[in-house]
Assembly symmetry: C3
């Protein structure tokens, strides 16, 4: 498997971050390189100050078409899953320059798991012929 | 067309389920294999008890940037579209083991259209070199 | 890079439209063809009457997991970014026939940036072996 998993991570709710982290960890475990661009609300969620608050599953998400209570105690912290994925394989996490600017976030506010700042062109160049997953 | 359409189906609102079903039916009709992993709110929507309630277009979705009323009477039941897709082509529907656990759903509660329970690794192995669509 | 960027554009909030427009402009600038199908709320957003209202970043989006205020004055109008992308490269924008019908939108109400009306089969045929991005 040579094409990377290319992921534009846009959403900042814990349910989607958890789904994304699981996908990334799975790909890394299977030796597929992973190429991530953090935009908007996902970028905000990767700020050091916020990441620690959001370990559980988003309770708001429950309003999305279900009345079933979530077994919060079983939720896996999404940031830990991203860290594990980075240890398992080749995972590159880029902070989108445009989103940093729109949200007024400084690079130094981001969790150290973020590798660098880049624009869409750098992300697309790394994507190669692979498809792009948007979460 | 040999690469499958690989779909992580996460959302549980009828508008997204309908969009997903249409895409799956289109691919099946064009003889492209389809590989689906149900997670979170989509998994919840595939419970037998809920699937029958959600045939129309989600009215909440109207708050997503529009005031235009939806022609509910024209909405196609999304579950019927998935069933049709399975008759037309090679469509595999997997229930994500991790999501079953987090949501406390038992395999027996799911609609019989779901083929089996699996983790992310099984889904990714079936995905091959194809991209992943997240809905 | 010969496979197109295949985009099902479903969402109608300005934050997602902006993210989509940026991705499309980046691909067009890198000479990758782009194949877009407008569905549901995105289709509604491409009506001439609405497109001009939605130039900023959606304030509702702030409820999605953040309390950080958005620097609205820096937001780039998403429709302008789509227009620029069309000038830069090969970008095809299709209005989904099924969504036009469900939402009761007439083809003539859409912004002239939309090339034509088509069903999912036309979109999938143009997609070729490339993955599909859903926004």
């Amino acid at each position: 498997m040579s094409e990377p998993l290319n992921l534009v991570l846009f959403s900042g709710t814990a349910d989607k971050l958890h789904a994304a982290a699981t996908l990334v960890a799975g790909a890394a475990a299977m030796e597929q390189p992973v190429n991530i661009l953090l935009q908007y609300w996902a970028l905000d969620a990767f700020r050091t100050a916020r990441a620690d608050d959001m370990l559980g599953l988003a309770w708001d998400a429950i309003s999305e078409g279900t009345s079933r209570p979530v077994h919060g105690s079983k939720a896996i912290p999404w940031m830990e899953t991203f860290r594990m994925a980075k240890e398992l394989g080749e995972v590159q996490i880029l902070a989108c320059t445009g989103s940093l600017d729109v949200l007024g976030i400084d690079r130094s506010e981001l969790d150290p798991i973020v590798d660098s700042e880049a624009g869409i062109a750098v992300f697309l160049a790394a994507a190669g012929e692979g498809g792009i997953t948007f979460i």
